[in-house]
Symmetry: C3
Subunit: 347 residues, 3 copies
């Protein structure tokens, strides 16, 4: 692909030789000849003189540059588009519906669906056009999947769950496992049937081995555009999103509701039955135990406003010494008081 | 199903019209006409006047109620029974032993077992009557599974492990992976073979993508009635339960033993080679580093008695200010001492 | 197997009757007649008089012992070898290439590979001799696997990833899922294509349900001899090892690089874009937010040198009381000052 073709695709213009052939994208510090890179932050500008890349995507035309440039309004977004351009088309290997897949006779599958060998499509499942189902995937009875989804190997979706369109389910994630409901009764636990389901809205991505439990009654909901990383836990009756991101190994306990555009760091946990306001940011490893207002930024267990938690953390370093200082003050005061007492006594 | 039929099933009696048809159960705040709900706590009593439900299950007969009531000894347990009544019978889709499953010729499978397409049943595996095996499940050599178990998609059980009766294994959980044993030797690690197994006793439930490692020697044991949530880690040679609950993303390191009726919060961790006494409660995200007595209630990392940890957490908010206060005291004392010294000096 | 045969295999010598038959290995405290155990630490020496074992492996010949001994240079390593000797040969059940597996016509598979029923081997996959592929494993297009690997059930390896030799992948682990890259753009997130791969070097072990994301560009790398426990998260473009161990439920965020011989405790987290020096030790549940030097030993969130963090933790127990003590000091000083002031005033 020539630089000119890439510039046209990006809606930008070339400064330099637009006929050069581009083999693929690369990071500025490790790019080789024939590759294209990008400059999104001035912080990396010094690499421009040392990079071996043949071309660079920039927001602003750079002067005195030996390598070719594509100038676009947003270099970062343009580079994402270039990555997309060079993405290997692995899905193309899965063609049509494999006769080594199991597709139940009552399933309603669009002719344009791709189903790999060893996938299981259960009774009354519906799958929309353009969706790709990889090997060892299990879609149980009554599951509905929209259009242009990608369901990677070893994903399982339990009965009655609904998946929107353009949803990506990474390997091994579980949609619709039973919520963790057990009622203590006469020294043992009895299982509370989990008869609800999970609804995943459009443009959601669910990470590898992430688990999303079905609701006891009603639905656990992951709203439009939300992105969950790997090994995340979403308990029954939780509502997340839209456009919320949760980093790896974070978790939300039952019935908690998250608003839009929330950011949750890795290994953070949110207790059950609370509400998190929109745009809140929860730092990694935090433990949120109470409702959070819109725009809250918190850290720690229990989670406190980030600024407050940071102050406490700095102060903690002085705590062992502080104990000694207070002991010393007490000794001095005690000595003084004794002295004073003795003086008084001596009067 | 009529209200009368439900009352009979629950062993309760109806106040109001017992001929009304009930379509299903619902939460009191979102129930619609034709649905039945329950009142387990007086806290929700105000919903009784606003709910759209057609009937409510109560412990004590309510006066002045327009909707019908079923009066039972324990409304909560009765409601759980109603959920069970209306649970979709998804397992009924898996009938007999699919000829698209792989069942090894040496496996001993009760005729009443249900094995879905694409399940793998290895050599010398034994499966008891009434057990349901979903697609993409792998039971390796010599595995034994009792009666009336449910093994959801993508579960794998490794060689020689034993599963009791009425056990539920949620999707993707792993029973019997190798324990994490590696001996440092000449700058590298050599693998310590893990030749034990895992024993899961009756009425246990294991959550989605939870992992339970086989013992180095002997058995890792999950005792009767214990319930593990999703993404839980149980290391080799651990003993858990009976009747213990572990919330999502919690973990137990090797050779630790837990007594009965223990409660472990989400993302809590317990170190290896210790003992946790019965009825102990370990709050979410705690890190338990030492033995715990019976009835201990702990929180934090390292875990401390809950009351003590809470006091510390409250105190922490005053710490940054405390540093300033002590500094001020020191300055005053110092000034005073200097003053005293000067006075003395001036004498 | 006789004791003499075991001694020969271990390169040690027998003290006592070398003709006795050994049924298997066992722990010293639970060994039965006919079993062999070991003494690696003097701490367990008192068990030598009570153990029911028929033989014990020791570093140093023991006097006055009724049971037989094998004397070797390193009793611990010798015992690991004995475990290996008695390991059930479960892999032997998987013979040749099952005709109930799916093997793509373009895959290049050594004749000595073992592929179980219901495994999926995609286009252009290469697998070296001696490797065992269990049921419900998915190897997508262009994956390369070396020699003598064991890939347990329900593992999935995504397109273009490369696995070395003698690698063990425990059940359900995911190699090469998409990195978590989403660029905020006009109120939503756009997916950043993850066009790199994962490289797993020789002698690595990956735990059950662990997830290793593919790189955005280039490779996520797990170096030689590194051992990852269960439910571990390795984000895109991370480099780990060689000879590093990560305990269960720990995680590393994107682009962080770990040197050799690092030890990471359970549930610990390491932030993105930092470097961890060789031989560093990160205690369980720590949160590492900055680069760590070689040989660093840290604990807590944020991670501090272990000794400092421990001092802080001890001090914390005195904090609630410290607040009262400072209050008392302030009262005394205030009283004193008032007194002094009054005196002065009274002058």
């Amino acid at each position: 692909m020539t630089l000119k073709e890439i510039a046209t695709y990006l809606g930008g213009y070339v400064v330099g030789d637009d006929s050069i052939f581009i083999a693929g994208p690369a990071k500025i510090e490790s790019a080789k000849e024939g590759e294209i890179t990008f400059l999104s932050s001035l912080k990396y500008k010094h690499f421009l003189t040392s990079t071996q890349a043949s071309a660079v995507i920039v927001d602003t035309k750079q002067e005195n540059l030996t390598l070719a440039q594509i100038v676009v309004p947003n270099a970062y977004v343009a580079f994402v588009m270039v990555l997309k351009l060079f993405e290997p088309q692995s899905h193309s290997y899965i063609q049509g519906i494999s006769d080594q897949a199991f597709v139940h006779s009552t399933a309603i599958v669009d002719p344009d669906v791709h189903i790999a060998p060893l996938a299981y499509i259960g009774p009354n499942v519906k799958i929309g056009s353009g969706t790709v189902i990889y090997p060892n995937v299990s879609l149980l009875a009554e599951v509905q999947v929209g259009q242009d989804c990608i369901i990677y190997p070893n994903v399982s979706i339990r009965e009655h769950c609904r998946i929107g369109s353009r949803v990506i389910l990474q390997n091994g994630c579980v949609i619709g496992s039973d919520g963790f409901g057990h009622a203590p009764h006469e020294g043992a636990y009895i299982k509370i049937p989990q008869i609800g389901n999970v609804i995943i809205e459009d443009d959601v991505e669910v990470g590898a081995n992430t688990t999303i439990d079905r609701a006891t009654l009603g639905s656990t909901i992951v709203k439009e555009g939300t992105k969950l990383d790997n090994l995340v836990q979403i308990a029954h009756n939780v509502v997340v999103g839209p456009h919320t991101v949760m980093a790896a190994q974070s978790g939300i306990a039952g019935s908690t509701e998250l608003g839009e555009h929330i950011t949750i760091g890795g290994q953070a946990a949110i207790t059950g039955h609370i509400k998190i306001g929109k745009n809140a940011i929860i730092a990694a490893q935090s433990g949120v135990t109470k409702n959070l207002d819109e725009n809250a930024v918190v850290w720690g267990t229990p989670a406190l406003p980030l600024r407050q938690r940071k102050k406490i953390d700095v102060s903690l370093k002085y705590l062992p010494d502080l104990l000694k200082r207070v002991q010393k003050l007490e000794d001095e005061i005690h000595k003084h008081n004794k002295h004073t007492y003795n003086e008084t006594d001596g009067d």
